[in-house]
C-alpha cells in the first residue's frame, strides 16, 4: 500500500526490493488461488472435448481433445440444447425482471412507509427465508395442479417471484435514501409511483444490479421446481435437460460437461455486465444494514 509518507520516505525511484518481492508473492498467491478456482472449469473444458469413453482413465486426459464439434452435435441431438438454452434464458430473464421489480417495490414499501402490518410483513419475509424448499414442494405442486398450471412456464416463474433475500437487500438500500428528497418530490406534486420510478430507483441502481445478478443466477440454476413442473422435453430448462444425460447404466459425461460449460456462459455475461453495480450495490446494501 502506498501512502504519502511512505513514498516520500522511499524517494521517487519506486518501490524498494522487499516491497516488490512482497507484491510478487501476493500476485503469486492470487494466481494460485485463481488457478484453484479455475481447475474445475479446465476439467470441464477437457471433458467437453473428448469422447465419454476416453475420460475413464486414471489419470484422466489432461489436455483438450478434438471432439468438441462432435459433442456439440450430440448434445443438440439428444436434448435439443439450443432450444433448451433459449427456454432457460426466457424464463430467467422474465423471472429476474419481475422479481427484481417486485423486490424493489416491496423493499421500498417496507423502508419508507409506516403502516399496520409492516412488522408482520417483515416477519413473513424473514420467516420464508428460513423454510427449506423441499417441504413446500408437494403442497405447492398441488396448488399448481389445481390452477391448471402443470407443465407451464407460469408455474415455474410466478410462485417464487416474491424473494425474501431480494426484498431485504432492496430495503437496506432504501433505508439510506434521504427522506427529504422524498418530501420535496411529494410537495412538488409527484405521485408516489412516479417518485419511485424517477427519483428513488436511479439512486439504488447499484443494489438493483446486485439483485439482478443474484436472482438471475438462482433462477438459471434452479432445478427441483422446474423438474417437477415441466413435462415436455421441448419446454425443459438447462439443468433438467442436462439431468436426462445421466442414465441408469450410462452417463454421457462429455455431453454433461459441455452442457454445463455452455450453461455457465450466460451467467458469466450477466456478472461481467453488472459487475460494477454488483460491487457497489452490495456495499451500499450491506454496509449500512
Amino acid at each position: 500500500m502506498s501512502t504519502p509518507t511512505e513514498t516520500t520516505r522511499r524517494g521517487h525511484r519506486g518501490r524498494i526490493a522487499p516491497v516488490r518481492l512482497g507484491r510478487w508473492l501476493i500476485r503469486l498467491g492470487l494466481l494460485l488461488g485463481g488457478v484453484l478456482s479455475l481447475i474445475p472449469f479446465l476439467w470441464m473444458a477437457i471433458a467437453a472435448t473428448h469422447r465419454t469413453g476416453d475420460l475413464f482413465h486414471s489419470p484422466p486426459p489432461l489436455l483438450p481433445g478434438g471432439e468438441l464439434l462432435h459433442n456439440l452435435e450430440r448434445l443438440q441431438d439428444s436434448v435439443g440444447f439450443g432450444r433448451v438454452m433459449l427456454n432457460s434464458l426466457g424464463v430467467a430473464v422474465v423471472h429476474t425482471f419481475l422479481s427484481s421489480l417486485l423486490s424493489a417495490m416491496c423493499g421500498y414499501g417496507l423502508a419508507k412507509f409506516r403502516f399496520r402490518g409492516r412488522g408482520v410483513l417483515l416477519g413473513v419475509v424473514l420467516g420464508t427465508m428460513m423454510i427449506p424448499l423441499q417441504v413446500l414442494l408437494v403442497p405447492l405442486f398441488q396448488m399448481m395442479a389445481s390452477l391448471g398450471w402443470v407443465n407451464t412456464y407460469q408455474a415455474v416463474i410466478i410462485p417464487f417471484l416474491a424473494n425474501s433475500f431480494g426484498i431485504l437487500l432492496m430495503r437496506q438500500g432504501f433505508l439510506d435514501f434521504p427522506d427529504e428528497l422524498l418530501e420535496s418530490a411529494r410537495i412538488d406534486g409527484s405521485g408516489e409511483l412516479r417518485t419511485f420510478y424517477r427519483v428513488v430507483l436511479p439512486c439504488v441502481r447499484p443494489q438493483l444490479g446486485a439483485l439482478v445478478i443474484f436472482t438471475f443466477m438462482t433462477q438459471w440454476n434452479s432445478f427441483i421446481w422446474p423438474l417437477l413442473m415441466l413435462n415436455t422435453e421441448d419446454k425443459y430448462t438447462v439443468p433438467i435437460a442436462l439431468n436426462t444425460l445421466t442414465g441408469l447404466s450410462h452417463v454421457d459425461y462429455s455431453g454433461l460437461m459441455l452442457g454445463s460449460l455452455l450453461a455457465t456462459l450466460p451467467l458469466l455475461l450477466v456478472f461481467l455486465l453488472f459487475q460494477r453495480q454488483f460491487v457497489a450495490g452490495l456495499l451500499g446494501g450491506a454496509l449500512k444494514g
Partner: protein
Amino acid sequence: MTGELSRRTLLAGVGAATLSTAVTGCATGGVTNREAVHLGPGATGPVTGSITVWSWDSAATALTRLARKFQARHPGARIHVVDIGYDNADDKITVGLRADTGLADVVTVDGARLPAFIGNFPHGLHDLTPLVRPYARDFDRAALRTATSEQGRIHALPWDIGPLAVFYRTDLFRRSGVDPASLRTWDDYVRAGIAVKAKTGAKLLVLDPSEDSFFPCLMQQQGQRHFKDGGKVALATPEAVRALELIKAIGDHGLIHWERGWDGLVTANKEGKVATMPTAAWWSGTLTTEMPELKGKFGVVPLPAFRPGGVRTSNQGGSTLCITGQSKNPRLAWAFIRFLLTDKDNQVSMLQREGLFPAYLPALQDPYLDKPQPYYGGQRVWKVFTDLAPHIPPVEYTDDDAKAADITQQALTGTVLRGHDPRRQLRAAARQLAGATGREIVAG
C-alpha cells in the same frame, strides 16, 4: 393497535390451517373415489386417443421407437414419450402420486421401488390383476413379485430384469491359471481371487461404499432381501450373516476395490483393476459402449453358489410399466403396454438395440439369444442369462425398503471397512430397522 394486529394474525393463521386442512381432506377424498375405476379384462374395441409415457435413458429410446410402430398399427392413437431423466424420476412420480395429480398415463418404475409406491399409494397405480392374469406365467417370477401388492393385487407389468452372473476378464484368468468353470461356490471364488491378485495384481470386484448393491444381491441369492415372512426384518438371519461374512472375507484378503459411482466402476474395469464383475445382464451394454477396446477379453459364468448345487443367480435392477390412477385413457395405456411387453419380437428388439433383458420369458426362446456374441469372443452370453433367469429367487419387498437399504449400507461399511463383527453389526442393524419401522424381527 398491537392487540388488533395479533388477533388478526391469529385469525389468519387459523384460517390458513383450516383451509389447508380442508384442502388436504379433499385431496384424500378424491383418491378414495378412484377405487371404483379399474380396467376390465378383454377391453376390446378401437384403440384411440393419446397418452403420455414417462421414462429415461435407453428405455425412453426404446419406447419412442416402438411407439411409432404402435401408432402405425393403430391410427388414431398418439403416444408421447417423455424422457424425465433417471436420477430424479422417482421424485417426480412421488410428488405426482402424493398430490394425486400431474402424472403421465404410463410411468416407468424401478422394480425395487415399486413396492414402496404400491404400499404408500394404494390407489395411485391401476390394479391390473385381471388383465395380467393370462400372462402371469410368462413373466419372470421374481419380477412379477415386485409388482404384486401385499394383498396379492398386481399393479404393473415387468419390463426388464437384471439377472446376475459373473463377468470375468478372460485374459487375467488365463494368466493366473484360473478356470472360470471352477467357480462353483463362493469359496472357490475367493480362492481364485487370491490367485489372480498374486499373479496379476488385480482385485476381485468393485464395491461402492455409499450405494452398494452387492450385499442385497447376495441375500436375494439365498431367497430374501431386507424383509421376509410377511414383512419381518430379515437383516440378522443366517442368510444375511453368511452374505456379509463372505464380503468381509473378500475384503480381508484385500480383494475389494472401493469406488464411488458409475464412472468409478467403469474406470476400474477399463483399467483392469478388477478381474470380475458379479453384476446384472445390463452391464453388457456398458461394456460394449464404454470399453470397446476390451473386446474379446470378457466372458460370463453364473454366480458361484453358497452351497454346491445351490442357486447361481440373483437380481439387480429391472423396471416395470404402470398405469397411473390419474390416467384419462387407461385402455390405450394398457394396449400399448401389452404391445410392448408381451410381444416376443418387440422384447427381443429391445434387448438387441437397447440392452434391456426381457422379463417376458417366451422372448428368451428367440434364436437371437442363442447367437455367439463377438464382444465375448464368441461366447453365447445371452444363453447364460436365459438359463439363469427362471431361477431368480422371488423375494419380499416392502414400503420400508429405502430405510432398510440405508441401514444395510451402514452395516456393510461398518463390517468390511471398519472391521466390526458381522453378526453383531447385523443384529444391531435389525434392531435399528425394527425400531424405525415398527416391524418385528424374524425369529432365530
